[in-house]
């Protein structure tokens, strides 16, 4: 019996192969995009964990300063008290134009020593070579290659047991290169300690003990917001794909109603039928899930380089390695495919379970039933909206922001059918011509079958408008901000301090304003903080992008009594102008202002150059901004390149550096644009599949008007008009939703994720382009069903009257 019933059930797909393709493609798309995002996230997180493990930060607790650095004498004092500690000094060094993160360690006691010794042995490096001048670096082969090209003074030992981009050296070499002879970044508490020691809390109250497991999660935590953003996009694409699946499953069961009635009449129990349909769905889910995983893997591999660029640009986080196939990723992808299928099919299966034995095939439009379901969905939508609003009003933070966005998007999607239905009702009342009147009313009748696809389109359009507005607002702000931040006409990097001094003297003799760019790196509450020292100059007073400031801000900074902090640092530590900030235990300055600093993941402060030099006299003096008439730039650049033998790449004009910055910006948002486009593509596909699967069901509605004198060509045109009408209404509704989404991204999500708040700009031309794209997608989606209708054999339409369908 089961085999016979199954064969009857499956015969449906022989007659509707396109429907099967739609179902599987929808599910594969949903699984694919979700899995792609998960693969990227998984790879990035594995990379963070690998890097933390390779740097030895996961094996022992750390002792880090609340602010500033740890003086060498404090380390010595702790060692004298019996604690087994090993020092670490971190920072950034530059060789030629290349920056490298350096980690100076004690090559006798640090947990990494055995691995480094093994690497040195394989390299046949002499014993103690790393401890003696000029000192040796240890680096990943790729980093070692770049380092060797950038400098030749220090030999480099290659080892793939270190992450890319990081140099390990003896702490003496690191402190020399970083010009921090008396300070340490943090101390590692070695595992074997003598019992009965005075607790560290008493010996060093200013230092915080950070458990090893937290150290490993540092980068992961920093980039959580980015991965959450990706997950949200993946989930959105998954939901859009499931809309296709739900629509197709519902339709396939609807079309098999008469078969189900017959099978039941022939004695097949409903329980067996439901089990057979569930088995059918499970097989479809598994096959589509595997296809989706394959597609997701390819998408992830294609997007990973851009994700690496984004993470590096926004967070300074390095994600290395190629995409690898992980078992948990495969299993979770298949679980999502199966879970999503049953979620999408639950309503249809439940309706099947409850279907009376004598239920008739549903070929007539169910007006009242549809109205009631629209109303119920709209009420659920309002509840979602209110829930989201409540969460954002009560709670703060990234998760609350995403809950608000989810409530907003889901709520709007659920309200869509009622809004469109109301719009169509109003439209029908306003029109006087019979064809238009029929078209509006018929469009409304078609709405239940189209509503899921339209919801998908609404979500995709709103996401595009919202994310597009956010990115464009960011770009506009960023471009203006670059003009403020990069006012100098030329930026020069000399190869040594001496050369820097000679160049400064030469330039000043010729009346060219020289703005030294000097900085010192410290740690504040365990995180890196860069202190810039600036000369008092009109350039800063006129251009610097201050968001908030005390009166006479620049006078205070110039006097060395105040500093400026960047926005993300201010938000992270809740700093406001007028408060004070301790850069070191004996160096406390008033915060005179906050400035925007987009694209920088770390904290940054600005004080007077004199004040900085008083604290850190040895900081390099190799970077300069030069102010001169723009027309003199080429001549000056040529001259100083030849006279001072400064490499061409070390002299960059303002146009060049801005172009480079904008290039980084564009690459940062490549992943966003790609996901945007993919989501819109899925929504377009949802419309196409809905129209294709619905068109044959619509013949009972179309045949009477054909008989009344509308030609098949006119009906085909009406199909395209109807699709356009629905897409246009959806696009119009997506606009305000997209703008609310943009606001939430700019004012809530970005602030939490990146630490900066951006002004919102409006881009009507972009909206118009997007709406036209949506309308084009609607025409393309309707073109195939319309073409079929225009060429339909009249005999097919006549079957409607003969009750042969």
């Amino acid at each position: 019996m089961i085999r016979t019933a199954l064969s009857a059930i499956l015969s449906h797909w022989r007659r509707h192969p396109l429907q099967l393709v739609t179902l599987m493609a929808g599910l594969a798309l949903a699984t694919g995009l979700w899995s792609a995002v998960q693969a990227i996230n998984g790879e990035a997180r594995a990379s963070y964990a690998r890097a933390a493990e390779q740097l030895g930060t996961t094996v022992a607790d750390r002792l880090a300063p609340e602010d500033g650095s740890i003086p060498l004498r404090q380390y010595a004092s702790l060692r004298r008290s019996g604690w087994q500690l090993t020092p670490v000094l971190e920072g950034t060094v530059r060789f030629k134009r290349q920056s490298f993160d350096i980690m100076g360690i004690d090559l006798l006691s640090h947990p990494l020593v055995p691995a480094l010794a093994e690497a040195a042995e394989q390299d046949s490096a002499p014993a103690l070579d790393a401890l003696l001048p000029p000192g040796r670096f240890f680096a990943h082969p790729e980093t070692a290659q770049m380092l060797s090209a950038a400098q030749s003074e220090h030999p480099v030992t290659q080892t793939d047991r270190l992450p890319r981009g990081v140099l390990i050296a003896d702490i003496s070499l690191a402190s020399r290169l970083l010009r921090q002879p008396d300070s340490l970044s943090y101390l590692i508490i070695l595992p074997d300690q003598i019992p009965g020691l005075t607790p560290l809390e008493q010996l060093a109250p200013g230092l915080t003990r950070i458990p090893a497991r937290n150290a490993a999660a540092d980068t992961a935590r920093l980039t959580d917001s980015f991965h959450l953003n990706l997950t949200a996009f993946g989930l959105l694409s998954f939901a859009v794909g499931l809309f296709i699946v739900q629509g197709t499953i519902g339709l396939s069961l609807e079309q098999r109603r008469s078969m189900i009635r017959t099978l039941r009449g022939l004695g097949v129990p409903m329980r067996a039928l439901v089990a057979l349909f569930a088995a059918e769905l499970a097989v479809v889910a598994l096959i589509s899930g595997i296809a989706g995983l394959a597609g997701g893997y390819l998408v992830a591999a294609a997007l990973l380089p851009d994700v690496q660029a984004t993470l590096s640009g926004l967070y300074g986080a390095s994600v290395d390695g190629a995409l690898s196939l992980r078992l948990e990723w495969v299993l979770s992808g298949l679980a999502m495919a199966c879970g999503g299928t049953f979620l999408a099919g639950a309503q249809a299966l439940y309706a099947l379970w409850r279907m009376p034995l004598l239920a008739a095939p549903a070929t007539q439009a169910r007006g009242q039933q549809a109205s009631n379901s629209h109303l119920a969905a709209a009420i659920a939508g309002v509840v979602c909206l209110l829930a989201g609003l409540t969460v954002i009003l009560i709670f703060q933070g990234l998760i609350a922001g995403f809950v608000f966005l989810s409530g907003l998007m889901l709520g709007a999607a659920l309200m869509l059918p009622l809004l469109i239905s109301t719009g169509l009702r109003i439209g029908a009342r306003l029109c006087t011509r019979p064809f238009a009147e029929w078209l509006w009313a018929d469009t409304r009748a078609q709405l239940p079958g189209m509503s899921l696809a339209l919801m998908a389109l609404l979500l995709a359009l709103a996401t595009n408008i919202g994310v597009g507005t956010m990115v464009s607002s960011f770009r506009l702000t960023f471009t203006g901000w670059l003009d403020q931040r990069l006012p100098a006409e030329v930026y020069v990097t000399t190869t040594s301090d001496e050369q820097g001094e000679r160049l400064t003297q030469w330039l000043e003799d010729r009346g060219i304003t020289v703005l030294p760019i000097r900085h010192s790196d410290i740690r504040y509450k365990g995180a890196p903080l860069r202190i810039y020292g600036v000369a008092d100059d009109e350039t800063y007073r006129q251009n610097w992008p201050l968001l908030e400031a005390l009166p006479n801000v620049w006078d205070r900074v110039a006097a060395g009594e105040a500093l400026l902090v960047n926005e993300q640092f201010a938000r992270r530590h809740d700093l406001k102008p007028g408060r004070t900030l301790a850069l070191a235990p004996d160096w406390e300055l008033t915060i005179a202002g906050i400035y925007s600093d987009y694209g920088n993941p770390n904290g940054q402060v600005i004080t007077s150059l004199a004040a900085l030099l008083a604290r850190a006299p040895d900081i390099p003096n190799r970077q300069f901004g030069l102010r001169l008439p723009a027309e003199d730039v080429p001549e000056l650049a040529t001259y100083i390149r030849e006279a001072f033998e400064i490499p061409r790449e070390n002299i960059v004009d303002q146009v060049g550096i801005k172009a480079r910055s904008l290039g980084v910006f564009e690459r940062t948002f490549t992943i966003t644009s790609a996901l945007n486009l993919l989501t819109l593509g899925v929504a377009g596909f949802a419309m196409l599949t809905s129209l294709l699967t619905l068109w044959s069901q619509r013949l009972p509605q179309l045949a009477p008007v054909w008989a009344m004198g509308l030609s098949r060509r006119q009906l085909a045109g009406a199909e395209i008009l109807r699709s356009l009408l629905l897409a246009a209404i959806t696009a119009v509704l997506a606009l305000p939703l997209g703008l609310v989404l943009a606001w939430a991204l700019l004012a809530v999500i970005n602030v939490e994720a990146f630490g900066w708040k951006l002004p919102m700009h409006l881009f009507p031309e972009d909206w118009l382009r997007l709406i036209l794209l949506a309308l084009l997608a609607a025409v393309v989606a309707a073109a195939l069903p319309a073409r079929r209708l225009s060429r339909l054999d009249p005999a097919e339409l006549l079957k409607v009257f003969a009750n042969e369908r």
Binding site: P434, V705, A707, G709, N803
Partner: protein, 218 residues
């Protein structure tokens, strides 16, 4: 002559062999008259009705509606003819579920630019639909829906009214009442009625009767 059919043949292609449904059928239907077409299932009744309504194409012969030969008409011209001169009433009613009863009644006449609201209202009154005009088809009984279909067909004031088993879905009493009303209204409108039926009783109510057997008039 409102409807003139001469030696019309129609064959449906099959997978292995063709099926000849009509084999040289001829008939004439003057204005104001009515003709009942009877025959067994598969005799070609509905096919002939569809051809007479310019809904389908015939293989040979000729059909003229109000003097217009159909054989050379393009799709668009056939649609225009149906819009202006031909109305249809089907067994399944085939109302538009998304339009109200009043909109259903007026639809065809408005498409053909022949709408007369007074005539439409008079029809609705005569058909007993006055209180139901704001409702939708799914809210009406089968008999009421068939009366709406008749109202829609007659609101056009067509030259030719085609009806395929118009009372096939109704019981005997309702069927007789609907037929009486339809014939009365057809006479008033001056249309020619071409009706397909299985029922001898209904066929007897019309002016002429033609029996179709295996695609030929008997």
């Amino acid at each position: 002559m409102v409807l003139k059919i001469r030696n019309v043949t129609k064959t449906y292609p099959g997978q292995t062999l063709e099926t000849a449904v009509l084999r040289g059928v001829s008939l004439d239907l003057p204005a104001g008259s009515s003709l009942a077409l009877t025959g067994d299932s598969g005799s070609g009744k509905s096919t002939l009705l569809h051809l007479a309504g310019a809904l389908d194409r015939f293989d040979s012969g000729e059909i003229e509606i109000a003097g217009t030969p159909l054989s050379n008409l393009r799709d668009r011209q056939r649609a225009a003819l149906r819009r202006k001169d031909v109305s249809l009433v089907f067994q399944q009613f085939n109302l538009i579920p998304s339009l109200s009863i009043w909109q259903n009644i007026s639809l065809h006449a408005r498409l053909g630019n022949r709408w007369d609201a007074d005539w439409g209202q008079a029809l609705a009154d005569r058909l007993g639909l006055t209180g139901l005009l704001d409702r939708y088809p799914e809210q009406l009984s089968g008999g009421q829906q068939q009366r709406v279909a008749i109202g829609r067909a007659l609101a056009l004031r067509p030259k030719l009214l085609l009806a395929d088993e118009p009372t096939g879905n109704l019981d005997e009493t309702a069927s007789a009442a609907v037929m009486d009303l339809m014939l009365e209204l057809v006479r008033e409108s001056g249309a020619a009625l071409f009706l397909v039926t299985h029922s001898d009783a209904i066929a007897r109510m019309l002016d002429q009767r033609l029996h179709l057997q295996l695609g030929q008039t008997a």
